[in-house]
């Protein structure tokens, strides 16, 4: 390009300049600065909104999954005064390696910390934190803290006198882990792992394994639901795309109707239809297809989750497919047929490959929504139809183990990002067409 430009437009170092000798790039930047500033101010509200409502909360959530100060810091609810707790015990842990039997010094430190817990009313909080790692320990802390002022040397004997379990090496391992606010233990717990008394990562007791199985179930159910929505949506989308506009608009309303109805209404109507005393079973029994004592269980199990979620997520598959199919010129299929392809070959070789961007978009959308779905499985899933998000909700609302909930959610987020990356590598994100 330099050869085409007038010589006088060159600066000393061969950079392009304007007619009066200023660098061209600087002149361009100045000329466009106003427009850029204005554009920036226009997107600023959205940027701030996304930052405040999306990026910051997700960042906090991820932070919480590796950080829990329940055993290290107490914040008074009223005065906001922060008090470090378990200071003495932390010192002892720092000076004694993992596996050291708790000695008199250790119990003395514990007793001193229990006094502080009682003063700042933090025994419940500290106990809860240890309870996450070792259930049944919260009450030990509240009880011991209540009696802390009366404890006297030798502290080991005095504390063990309150509860034998204070000698449990697992408890001491748990307290050691909890004594630093930053920990990966919640992530370990989220995949059914724990640390043994020696600090090594180990599988949790077989009876208490839960999350890995639930992740797998969530993944499989989501894949199944994605597949089902694809099978159902493809013909509908094709029909919508090929019908004359006045008919396709009407059909589109029918497809979109679920969008305009409350999620709860839709889910409860499935309950009305599918429960064992519901419409479908009554009809089958009424027509004599089923005996009254062999009604099909379609609700409060995986079947219920699959049926209801497939229905609810169907529009998310139909719409991207439809928007891609509508842009496919019918002359492609005609051309294929005129070249000698049967209808099936024309579909397989020409039409289907052209719809792949829509399939990718729809499948990704449905899958990601399904993986994080909560209300429907909670209402119709029963015991074996629960998904990982139901467990996350449980830890958010019932057990109040927010760190574990955050770790589970973090794993879910990571998994989806990996799938997204895989999709990009295999199909290419450029091929994604949502509309």
């Amino acid at each position: 390009m330099a050869t085409l430009t007038d010589d006088s437009a060159f600066g000393a170092d061969d950079r392009l300049t304007t007619a009066d000798g200023k660098p061209l790039k600087a002149a361009l930047a100045r000329a466009e600065a106003r427009a850029k500033r204005r554009a920036f101010f226009l997107v600023l509200p959205l940027f701030l909104f996304v930052l405040i409502t999306f990026i910051v909360p997700i960042g906090q959530m991820l932070h919480r999954s590796v950080h829990n100060s329940g055993f290290t810091l107490h914040t008074d609810i009223g005065s906001k005064v922060q008090t470090p707790i378990m200071v003495n015990l932390r010192d002892w842990f720092d000076n004694n390696p993992r596996g050291t039997e708790p000695d008199e010094a250790a119990f003395e430190a514990l007793a001193a910390d229990l006094v502080v817990l009682r003063e700042v009313k933090a025994a419940g909080q500290a106990g809860t934190r240890i309870n996450y790692e070792l259930s049944g320990t919260r009450s030990m802390f509240t009880k011991a803290a209540r009696k802390a002022p009366k404890l006297e040397a030798p502290f080991a004997a005095a504390i063990l006198d309150l509860d034998e379990d204070w000698a449990d090496p697992e408890l001491w391992a748990a307290m050691r882990d909890a004594s630093s606010a930053y920990t990966m233990n919640f992530y370990l717990a989220a995949v059914d792992l724990t640390r043994d008394t020696d600090g090594f990562v180990a599988q949790v007791d077989e009876k208490r394994r839960l999350y890995k199985q639930l992740f797998v179930r969530t993944l499989l159910l989501s894949l199944l639901i994605t597949g089902l929505t694809f099978v159902l949506a493809y013909p509908i989308a094709h029909m919508l795309a090929t019908l004359p506009l006045r008919y396709s608009n009407l059909l589109m309303i029918l497809v979109l109707l679920p969008f305009w109805t409350s999620l709860l209404v839709r889910t409860t109507s499935w309950m009305v239809l599918l429960q064992s005393q519901g419409v479908v079973n009554d009809a089958l029994v009424g027509t004599g297809v089923l005996a009254d004592d062999s009604r099909i269980q379609m609700m409060y199990n995986q079947t219920g989750t699959i049926i209801a979620m497939t229905h609810i997520l169907l529009p998310f598959m139909v719409l991207p497919l439809y928007s891609v199919m509508r842009t496919i010129n019918p002359s492609y299929v005609r051309a294929a047929k005129s070249l000698g392809a049967t209808s099936w070959t024309a579909f397989r070789r020409i039409y289907f490959p052209l719809t792949v961007p829509g399939i990718g978009a729809g499948a990704l959308l449905v899958f990601i929504l399904a993986v994080g779905y909560y209300i429907t499985p909670a209402l119709v899933g029963g015991a074996d139809g629960q998904l990982i998000s139901n467990l996350i909700a449980f830890h958010m609302q019932k057990s109040l183990n927010w760190s574990l909930a955050a770790a589970l959610a973090g794993l879910l987020l990571g998994g989806i990002l990996i799938l997204y990356w895989l999709y990009d590598r295999l199909i290419g994100i450029d091929n994604l067409k949502l509309g």
Binding site: N329, R334, K337, S338, L339, T342, S343, L354
Partner: protein, 376 residues
């Protein structure tokens, strides 16, 4: 003369005059209320290049689609090579087709596009590659096999579409306004290339267009469509010089018309009293009885204003020059004749040609056989 050209495995005999494609009383309606194609009868010998020409909505594309098998005839028979094809699905008809927007498969390379018809016919790979290469060379795109259609220019895409329609050696090729999207220069070049290929390979071609220049320059015969009927089916020169009705006269080429009544008819010539009261000679085409209303049609280049060249006793008309347009190779003069202000006269830019100045009063006339008295 029997011309034999070897193309692939079959020998095409262009001297075969038996009908290869035949439409017999074909009618087509989409809604059951109106006929898009009304009673179409058409017969094409093998090797002919036939163009269906007409304004949009005249039924020409519908006819092509019925022949290709994408539309079914509501009534009548379409016969291909002696076989009625109404019930044969498009993929079994073995007809090559070039679409208006080319319809090249965007997810395949040029070579894959061309290999597609061979693949679905089960031709093995080495054969396929040879044929694809030959077809690409034929349209001078030998080096473009690995490209995607989107990486080609419009003209190149057009040629790929042509090659794809020809690669499986069909005996009949249909083209649906294939040059509509190209610019003028490319269009002219492609017109030549398509006719060259069609004649070299001896393919029977049905070509649909609304561009009359294309129809005239490319075809052996042109079928002018209007209102679901063929108005005239004739070779280009005959179509231009001997239009059978007003529509064809108006539609093909530039044409001056004047309306009037038939005064007298005498064998090959007649006298028409124009609405202005003047009288002029013409050749009766589809008028019979004196007193009938008629529309006379005369080509701009056949108008004479040198009265010495007319036969003795010829009628002439008074004209006023309205506008003189210099167009390089020709002069185009707009006259006001017998109440028609848009009467065009074209004269060749010859050394001693008169250049008429606007406002001049002149006298014009023509040879009776050049002016056709048609339906009103």
């Amino acid at each position: 003369m029997a011309l034999e050209i070897k193309w692939g495995d079959h020998v095409v005999n262009t001297s075969n005059e038996a009908a290869f494609v035949e439409f017999q009383r074909v009618q087509k309606s989409y809604d059951g209320e109106t006929l898009v194609v009304k009673d179409l009868n058409l017969s094409m010998p093998k090797g002919e290049f036939l163009t269906m020409l007409g304004p949009s909505g005249s039924g020409k594309t519908t006819c092509l689609m019925m022949l290709a098998g994408f539309e079914t005839a509501t009534h009548g028979e379409i016969i291909l090579d002696g076989q009625p094809i109404n019930n044969i699905p498009p993929h079994k008809r073995g007809i090559g087709m070039v679409f208006q927007n080319y319809a090249l498969f965007p997810h395949m390379t040029v070579a894959e596009n061309l290999a597609f018809p061979l693949e679905v016919r089960g031709i093995d790979k080495s054969d396929r590659e040879a044929k694809v290469q030959r077809a690409l060379d034929m349209v001078e795109l030998g080096a473009f096999g690995a490209r995607r259609p989107a990486q080609l220019s419009g003209g190149q895409q057009q040629r790929v579409a042509l090659a794809r329609a020809l690669v499986f050696e069909p005996e009949l090729v249909l083209m649906d306004e294939p040059l509509g999207a190209l610019d003028k220069q490319l269009r002219e070049q492609m017109q030549f290339e398509i006719t060259r290929l069609a004649h070299e390979l001896g393919i029977t071609t049905v070509y649909v267009t609304h561009d009359q220049t294309e129809a005239l320059t490319m075809s052996d015969r042109v079928a002018v469509f209007e209102d679901g009927r063929i108005q005239q089916l004739a070779p280009p020169d005959q179509l231009y010089e001997e239009p059978e009705n007003s529509f064809v006269a108006q539609f093909i080429g530039e044409n001056n018309t004047l309306t009037g009544k038939l005064k007298s008819i005498d064998g090959g010539t007649c006298i028409v009293t124009l609405d202005s009261g003047e009288e002029i000679d013409a050749k009766p085409v589809n008028v019979e009885r004196p007193g009938e209303r008629t529309r006379i049609s005369i080509r701009p280049e056949r108008v004479e204003f040198d009265m010495k060249r007319l036969k003795k006793g010829s009628h002439t008309l008074k004209a006023e020059v309205k506008e003189f347009i210099y167009m390089g190779d020709i002069f185009r003069t707009r006259l006001s004749v017998a109440g028609n202000d848009n009467f065009i006269v074209k004269t060749r830019n010859a050394p001693n040609q008169v250049r008429l100045t606007p406002g001049t009063q002149i006298e014009i006339g023509w040879q009776p056989e050049d002016c056709r008295a048609l339906d009103a």
